[in-house]
């Protein structure tokens, strides 16, 4: 028999859960409502045209979608190996006394406001990037990846600053995930004669879904980062493969143009950029869930496959 307070506790917490659903739904509905003018006018073309002309009232989001994805993927490519290296070192190899210091430093990196990263980017990172870009050999400059004049401000600076900002998030979560790997996993590996490297890779394999989760968390952070990126990316709504070219992101164009957007269509197009970012984040989060889920399933199948021959051989 259920006791009454037990029921009210369930209902109460359930209600809080519902609040979360309502908030997400409300954001989605409101973004859709406010951008109706732009959706009516441009339809699907909004997603695939490249012109952003507030004077003519002609709006397409493709350069911003491209800039957001490109900078985030680049940041992920740079940050993932470093973040995982930090996590592995702290959780597996680090001498006990050094550990709290390193953990503290990672947490400190995560706590720095993004405007500070942006200022550091302008005054420290960008001049370095410009120097590197200026000294690129001609053979490299012929490639589309390195074409164009060396501004310093551009995709490369943005990807680097994003990578630095993402590292503490990915490495903290990966570290916690590795900590959660049962000690028996490593002991079993050592018992089978594994070296330290092999034992660590066994632990990594055990924790792989959690590590993918950590990387996706970093990706989500990179997608939505605004201030630091807009301060170094050069803010030019032109699509380019070049790391040297100034480009733009969805979050940056929102932050830059929202306050002074003075026609209804302009404002509506900016809100639709917000909607596009919202939808893309939803899609990416769902995909990462799907990936985690399929990894967990194949792990179960593999486990089952291992059990069967073992049982047979025992028989």
């Amino acid at each position: 028999v259920k006791r009454p307070e037990n029921l009210s506790f369930r209902l109460g917490t359930g209600l809080f859960g519902l609040v979360l659903v309502l908030i997400v739904a409300a954001i989605g509905v409101e973004l859709f409502r406010q951008s109706s003018l732009s959706i009516e006018k441009f339809g699907l073309n909004f997603w695939r045209t490249q012109t952003w002309d507030p004077v003519a009232g002609d709006f397409g989001a493709l350069p911003f979608i491209w800039g957001t994805l490109y900078s985030s993927v680049l940041a992920l490519l740079i940050s993932t190996p470093i973040a995982l290296g930090i996590a592995i070192f702290i959780s597996e190899l680090c001498p006990g006394r050094l550990k709290p210091a390193l953990v503290f430093l990672t947490e400190l990196l995560a706590a720095i406001p993004s405007i500070v990263y942006g200022l550091w980017g302008i005054f420290v990172l960008v001049p370095v990037v410009r120097a590197v870009e200026s000294s690129l050999p001609q053979a490299l400059k012929a490639l589309p990846l390195f074409s164009g004049p060396p501004f310093g401000f551009g995709m490369m600076a943005a990807a680097l600053i994003l990578a630095i900002m993402v590292i503490p998030f990915t490495s903290s979560v990966a570290r916690e995930v590795l900590k959660a790997v049962p000690i028996t996993q490593r002991e079993a590996a050592y018992a089978l004669g594994a070296t330290r490297l092999e034992a660590i890779s066994a632990a990594l394999y055990y924790a792989r879904s959690g590590i993918v989760g950590a990387i996706m968390l970093g990706f989500g952070r990179a997608l939505g980062e605004t201030m630091a990126v807009t301060m170094v990316i050069g803010n030019s709504a032109k699509m380019s493969l070049s790391l040297l070219a100034p480009q733009h992101t969805m979050a940056a164009v929102l932050a830059n143009e929202f306050t002074d957007a003075d026609t209804a269509l302009y404002l509506s197009a900016l809100v639709e950029i917000g909607l596009v970012l919202f939808v893309m984040t939803l899609i990416i989060n769902s995909l990462s869930r799907l990936l985690l889920w399929s990894m967990a399933r194949s792990a179960r199948q593999a486990a089952a496959a291992v059990v069967v021959p073992a049982a047979e051989s025992a028989a």
Partner: protein, 342 residues
């Protein structure tokens, strides 16, 4: 129960106290352009010293935001660096009046290592550079205006504002007046589809980009260039003189426009005619309803406006703004009479 009662009584007393204080104080809320923010804050502080019962709260959220908020009547007054369009005026629930408060200017800033001379520009040349037609510093068009200056053969890196802003509006409004091609291809707005260049966020972003990028050319507000001691070039006016932006040359631009000022003060004074005029100058406006709902606020605001347009003008030059010419102030004092305070 007793404690509950006590809390309730305490709350009632507290609310009554707060309400009592609020009743004595007149609070006027305003929002809009970032460009005049320093002087509006100064005026607010100085005016409260003179009239302790009036408090003016100004939020610098951008011209577009100011226009939106006054249209939605969430603030008592709005502020904008560009006049409202006819379309926007029609969309408002009541008649909105424009009042110029001070003047500002945009200046071309550049970074050319080894060049210490002050560069001279013409309007059409600036338009061609920003259109991406003149791409090298030693282009014949630049060299012709600056004889004796050894210009480098490097590329011109153009720096513009990344955020929509009144500063951009003034800059492109001028370019469109002097270059038919700019008017046709790019046009005039607080943000445009830039043919080329890198975008910096805010005046500080543009200044940062320019000071760090050798061979760059951008534009910032005069106030900003003065406060941060950034070198800037002179621009040729309609009389053919190469003029540097100063408090005097910007006020002169407004003086030139005063003669044919439209009754609603919605006038662009870029490329103004006359001697000693700096051509990339502009008014900044406060927006008020002709028939405001709250008459107490309207009365207080009207007194404040009269003070700001007369005594308040003396604070302008110290902050890098140009004060209004006397003719314009006179016209505005008459126009303020249209606001219905009873």
């Amino acid at each position: 129960m007793k404690t509950l009662n006590r809390i309730a009584i305490g709350a009632i007393v507290a609310v009554a106290l707060v309400a009592g204080v609020a009743a004595q104080k007149v609070q006027i809320q305003g929002a809009g352009a970032t460009f005049p923010n320093p002087i509006y804050q100064k005026w607010s502080a100085e005016y409260t010293k003179l009239h302790s019962n009036v408090e003016i709260n100004y939020q610098s959220i951008g011209s577009g935001g100011g226009i939106r908020q006054i249209t939605n009547q969430t603030v008592f007054f709005g502020a904008s660096d560009g006049p409202m369009t006819n379309e926007q005026l029609v969309a408002a629930p009541g008649k909105i009046l424009h009042f110029p408060t001070v003047l500002g200017a945009d200046v071309p800033v550049y970074n050319l290592p080894g060049v210490s001379a002050e560069l001279k520009f013409t309007g059409p040349l600036l338009a061609d550079i920003f259109l991406g037609k003149v791409t090298k510093w030693n282009d014949a068009a630049i060299a012709k205006l600056n004889p004796g200056v050894s210009l480098p053969a490097s590329d011109i890196t153009i720096v513009h504002r990344a955020d929509a802003s009144g500063t951009t509006y003034i800059w492109v409004d001028y370019l469109a007046k002097v270059s038919p091609e700019w008017k046709m291809k790019v046009g005039v707005q607080t943000q445009v589809n830039w043919p080329t260049g890198v975008g910096g966020r805010g005046n500080e972003g543009v200044a940062g980009l320019v000071t760090q990028t050798p061979g760059s050319l951008g534009y910032v507000e005069l106030v900003y260039a003065l406060q941060n001691k950034i070198a800037y070039g002179s621009v040729q006016n309609m009389a053919g003189e190469f003029t540097r932006a100063t408090v005097e040359s910007v006020t002169a631009a407004a003086g030139a426009a005063a003669g044919k000022m439209p009754a609603d003060f919605r006038v662009s004074i870029t490329n103004a005619p006359g001697k000693g005029v700096y051509p990339i100058s502009s008014f900044t406006w406060i927006l008020l309803y002709e028939n405001p709902k709250d008459k107490t606020l309207a009365k207080a605001m009207l007194d404040f406006m009269k003070w700001a347009l007369t005594d308040g003008q003396k604070f302008a030059a110290g902050l890098g703004y140009a004060p209004l010419p006397a003719d314009v102030v006179k016209l505005e004092m008459t126009a303020l009479g249209k606001i219905k305070v009873s």
